[in-house]
């Protein structure tokens, strides 16, 4: 029975490892009046904020894109 428990724990660990997402970072940019403006890399909560709220430049809020297309 110990063998089974060990095996189950190994597989659960494998599943947990597979299903757990790692740190998510992306290069972001926005399309300004003079073309694409690179904003650099953002991760996790900063990345979520940037996508949800956009980027403000010269009192204008631009939609931010954070993935290759």
């Amino acid at each position: 029975m110990k063998k089974v428990v060990r095996f189950v724990l190994t597989v659960v660990a494998f599943a947990a490892f597979s299903l757990t997402s790692c740190k998510k970072c992306e290069e972001c940019h926005y399309d300004g009046p003079n073309g694409e403006v690179e904003l650099g890399e953002f991760c996790d909560e900063e990345l979520e904020d940037m996508e949800a709220n956009g980027y403000v430049a010269d009192s204008v809020t631009y939609e931010v894109h954070c993935h290759e297309h």
């Binding site: 089974v4 998510k24 990345l47």
Partner: protein, 756 residues
Amino acid sequence: MQTKVGIFLYTFIFSLVSFSQSFEGKVVDSKTKEAIPYARISIESLHLNATSDSLGTFHFDQLPAAFVEFKVTAFDYRPVLVKINIPTTNSALFELTAQHVLLDEVIVTASEGKLRNENITSIEYRSKKSLFESGATTMGEALNLMAGVQQATIGVGIAKPVIRGLGGMRVVSYWSGLRIENQQWGDDHGMGASEVGLQGIEIIKGPASILYGADALGGVIHYIDEDYASTNTAEGYASTRFESNSMGTTTEVGYKINKGKLKFNLFANYINHADFQLASGRFIQNSRFWGTNVKMSLGYIKGNYVFNLRYHTAYNRLGIPGHTHNENATTEDFLRDVRSRRATLPAQLIFNNFLLAENKWFFKRSELLFQLGNTNNFLREFDEKVTIARTRLGLNNSTYNLRYTYHILSNIDLKFGAQGMVQTNRNTGTSMAYLIPDGNSMDNGAYALLSATHKKWRFQAGLRYDMRLITSFRPEVDSALTTNLDVNPIDRRYSSWNTSAGAVHNTKRTTTRFNISSGFRAPHLAELLANGIHHGSSRYEIGDRNLVSEQAIQLDLALELHFEHLEIIINPYFNRIQNFIYLQNSDSMIGSYKVFEFRQLDLAHLYGGEVGVHYHPHRIHRLHLESNFSITIGQDADGNALNLMPQPNTNNRIRFDIANKQKFQVKSVLLEHQYFLPQNRVGMNELPSGEYHLVHLALDMGLRDNEQFSFKAGVRNVTNSSFITHLSPFRNLGIPQPGINFFLSIKYNFSNPHKQ
């Protein structure tokens, strides 16, 4: 009063119940009467297995006092099915007849538990080994091998099976008895099942409402998991596979243990593919995908009670190819010169959880099955934002299945039961315009099925009533999310009577089958109320709230000829569908998306057939030739062709088994040829498709002194053909399927008798 009821129930139950019995037997050759060691004796209804020892003997300790069907198989022998009444018999001598070739007629099907040639309906079974023998990357690709079955694919990771010209919601999937619901209304929503831990796939072709309920107008795909290990044994494996086309890997582990009353199976895999490469050398942008699956099953048997608990969890990230921001897109926009594995958009993230609790009670002359199941599908589609999903849909489906089988006589069985499901579909934070509103549906059905055997005949007839309630809700969200949506709630009730009747006649050389069956499918919420951009399908879809239920009736005939070395199957059919719902390609555009409208035809006819040949030349016993041809013609009452009918196709397989004494052995060579004929019978606004050939080569290898290791190597699409299937939703975009693909796999097996 409560005491009286209690005494009555106690008396009633124990009048039916008998206690567990031990059973022993021997397996011998029918001619020589010599013992057959390593024969496998299975009782599928109890999920019990045993292996005969060197004297051909075996025993079971946990059998209920009831009618039990034994399946006995051994290498180079013809399998037998024997029904035994355990209270009166506790030992048996099974005699097997030597047969150097195993043809399809002796395959035992799970759906009816009969030899294939005793089935009333058209059922085709393939083991996982056979399906993936020639190196198919996905299960969808492997299913192409089965006569009458093709796949509609988006890239490679998303595939939907099409049976005799019908797919999507008209094909119902079951996993070891549990109905799988995974938003199958969308072309871009894949199969939901996984090949990990799979024993085989059984396909019922045509309407199958009697045992499977609503929706199965095209058929049923039954994914059957591996058996438990033999009593008091433990076994397992680890395997890995590499594919050159996508630099893809599939890694899988499995472990099974059987301690008599308690049995346990566990399987897991991890799949990862980068972008797929075309015959031209370029890559399909964002065809990459990865996923992981874990499956568990736990079996328990005591006395007349059998319990099985099954659980499957899966998480997949599927890139959606065929996406561009160019308004005048060309095929070039969807291809790249460099392969990538990096996660990008658009993509689907799908989290599935399937759970099934199965209870069986065996009585002297009857069996009771009670299943409770739940499937949960959480679909997120990311389009423009990495962290904010455009679509978040949660689909929860709870099912029950109650079936009582009464053996009126040893050759007459009556089954009756009830089935149902409760489904909720919710937008859980969808950030862009809704495609479909939130809704519920509830199904309930009751049926009776009588089957009888008389001499060379077997008959079956059944009747079923089903009712489906569909309710949608007015979305209580920002109206910007529901601008286009038909937000007026609906509350509909659909009901239908269905029947099935058929007979099969077997002689030594022939099997003749006749079956007529009906089925119904109520329209889905997407067909009734959709109004918006369906990104996965790259189109704007508009539903129609006035759609009514589809009603199908199919006539299926089969003639099978069995000879010692040759088997021929001819299986024509005619499927008549009233109120056929289809997606009509219109001339208008909304934004950069073409508009498709759900419409209904008064009548659609789908007819055609399958022809199969299986041949082992007498003089070259190591050579196996297998071939099938299938064709489906779909048209309306005026003879106009329907959209998206599969190309006629042939599958041809030649396998040569090699006996050699080398340390490193090539055990067999398999050559597979698939030919898809042109499809020139096309529907309105549909383009014809050209023919194409595919050739695959595979080698099965092993080590002389170590049977624990096995190897496979081969080439898919040897000729590097560039082809587009007629059923591909991306056909209009001109995106072909992948080109040549080299594969290599290694598998390590182990098996140990368990210490008692």
